[in-house]
Symmetry: C2
């Protein structure tokens, strides 16, 4: 089995309007990019997926400094894409809880591979120990993330990586439980 192929050439711009599709092309990579191919969407997904963030405020203060208008816009888009849901807090009517849908939590493998790639090739703030853990145990990591989501366990899976070269930083506390 050499190539899963069927020679095609594509004037996709034309196909786009012809097919009535809102997408530039039906390539899955392209569709994904049209969903969250910008500088912010995946960060929000990360916040929800591994940090346990839920509210507008938390996203806003999440570290990279997203503007509130952009944040609001992205949250709407992600909802329209079915990746995120929003529901009002019962206790405090001001609060809105944003949460990943199953479609959203299913991005965990993508997120993990992204994490592994960047940790390997870029100067990131991820400690080596964490990476070894992740890389040798992908299945476990994903299942942990899934479990937290399923059980609505708000406990973060990973901390906000604050600075570069965290490896050299000395941590007062170990890699155990509870921050």
């Amino acid at each position: 089995m050499k190539v899963l192929f069927d020679t095609l050439a594509g004037v996709t711009r034309k196909a786009r309007s012809a097919s009535g599709s809102r997408f530039r092309s039906g390539c899955p990579v392209n569709v994904s990019l049209e969903r969250f191919g910008d500088r912010w969407s995946l960060l929000l997904i990360r916040d929800m997926m591994v940090r346990g963030y839920r509210t507008f405020k938390e996203f806003q203060e999440s570290g990279e400094g997203i503007a509130t208008n952009i944040l609001a816009d992205r949250l709407v888009r992600l909802q329209k894409s079915g990746i995120v849901t929003a529901e009002q807090d019962e206790a405090d009517g001001r609060r809105v809880h944003y949460r990943l849908t199953e479609k959203g939590i299913d991005l965990a493998p993508v997120m993990l591979e992204l994490l592994i790639w960047a940790a390997r090739w870029e100067e990131t703030a991820v400690p080596c120990a964490v990476m070894t853990q992740m890389e040798t145990n992908r299945g476990w990591a994903i299942e942990e993330v899934r479990r937290r989501w399923r059980e609505r366990d708000p406990e973060p899976f990973l901390p906000p990586f604050k600075e570069k070269n965290a490896v050299r930083k000395r941590k007062a506390q170990s890699v155990g439980k509870r921050g």
Copy 2:
């Protein structure tokens, strides 16, 4: 082992200038996004990774319709990030061959998970058979892509998915080169 944690709060904007880093934060997801978190970069990587495209022209006609100025800009950025290299064709001095570096080909797992996710949750042009193949055999898919890269085998691994629901579409003609 519940959380790989160490409570940090982050005013990353500050950390950004303080550390002199060009990144908004050292989080690997963020770093990845700063590398190719736009609507085009990953498509180029896809073209090189699974379609065997090499030249400016090929990218340009790749389907989604990138503008030439944007294309040129992204190629430069990807080179600066060490994800892509450029070299002149020996036979034809006009041609420039763009190729993934090892850092670039290492994005194969990310690409694969993206493919799987989109095929599962979005209406894409990927035939079911292909997806089954990929999903049940991730390792094989990645190794195939790697092999082609290593051996400079120009044969595409996947075709350009032209339209949605390609499974049902019937193709009138196969297309060689030369529009």
